[in-house]
């Protein structure tokens, strides 16, 4: 069994062992998972801005268009 196998099994066991507290446990774990994920995503370097690309495209079309 590797690390990837542990989580599904752990979830199943937890939900079976504590069905009444399961929703609260799941919410708490989810909050931690999401917080860790969002912190990790915010820590990654952002790729070139697609919004900038779109603005540059619009500006370029006006700036360089040759009017007949």
């Amino acid at each position: 069994m590797n690390g990837e196998d542990v989580t599904p099994r752990m979830w199943q066991e937890l939900s079976a062992l504590a069905p009444d507290r399961w929703p609260a446990i799941r919410r708490a774990v989810a909050a931690r998972i999401a917080a860790d994920l969002l912190a990790e995503l915010d820590g990654l370097p952002r790729s070139a801005s697609l919004l900038d690309l779109e603005r540059q495209r619009r500006a370029g079309q006006v700036a360089h268009r040759e009017v007949a």
Partner: protein, 250 residues
């Protein structure tokens, strides 16, 4: 101010500029007519094709932006539906505005971290932005919460496909075919695209034939046209690669 001596070409260019600056639909309609007339008279004028292309490009983008507003309103009115979120991400991607949906779905995930759909929405936003590393991280995090979620598995297949790992993507789509919803044709479409990209033309044609049969069996004949066109395209590739082949070999 309009010059009374203005030629049709000058008028078309003026209307193009007006439409770009002011987004007036009547300027678009008038410019379209002018360019169509000019192109009918001079179909080999590269400058005309360029300007007419730009007119259509700008108008198309404005139409997609109007679609974005529709999807945002649909989400407000019926927050439980997933479809407008997927459409919104598609349309934002077409406008090179995936950053808007990435920010939106990051906020939504922070507000509802136990909702698996929020991981799906954010993963798709990253995937369509071409941010595959981030998409993979979101899928992995969502799997921690719900390891068996089919939506995340579907996204995993799309991510693998986009990363060039088409064989691994095909394996997931095969799983969907065997265990998934028999009404869901997506794994067949996705398999057809991947198989064609891999040069496995006969297998790709087989996927398209399944899709055609399914639509015919469900009385959706209009949806068989595109698959037939796709088969014709693949058969043309086979013929180009080997003029002696007729595309019907198994």
């Amino acid at each position: 101010m309009t010059n009374p001596a203005e030629t049709l070409r000058q008028k078309a260019s003026r209307l193009l500029d007006e439409y770009n600056a002011l987004h007036d639909e009547s300027a678009y309609a008038e410019a379209k007519r002018a360019y169509q007339q000019l192109l009918a008279e001079d179909p080999d004028d590269a400058g005309l094709h360029l300007e007419y292309g730009m007119l259509q490009d700008w108008h198309g983008r404005r139409s997609i932006r109007a679609a974005v507003a529709c999807y945002e309103r649909a989400i407000e009115l019926d927050p439980g539906q997933d479809a407008p979120h997927f459409q919104l991400t598609h349309s934002r991607a077409a406008l090179n505005e995936t950053e808007h949906v990435i920010d939106l779905y990051k906020k939504r995930l922070a507000a509802a971290p136990d909702q698996i759909r929020e991981y799906r929405f954010l993963a798709r936003a990253y995937l369509y932005a071409g941010a595959r590393e981030e998409a993979g991280k979101v899928i992995a995090a969502g799997r921690k919460l719900d390891p068996g979620d089919y939506g995340l598995l579907e996204l995993e297949a799309e991510l693998l496909d986009a990363s060039g790992r088409k064989q691994a993507a095909l394996a997931i789509w095969q799983t969907f075919k065997q265990r998934g919803d028999p009404e869901n044709l997506e794994p067949y479409y996705m398999s057809a695209f991947a198989l064609e990209a891999m040069g496995r033309y006969q297998e790709a044609i087989a996927e398209w034939r399944y899709i055609i049969d399914w639509h015919e069996a469900h009385d959706h004949a209009i949806h068989t046209e595109w698959p037939k066109e796709m088969i014709a395209g693949i058969e043309a590739k086979i013929a180009a690669a080997d003029p002696s082949a007729d595309g019907t070999r198994s």
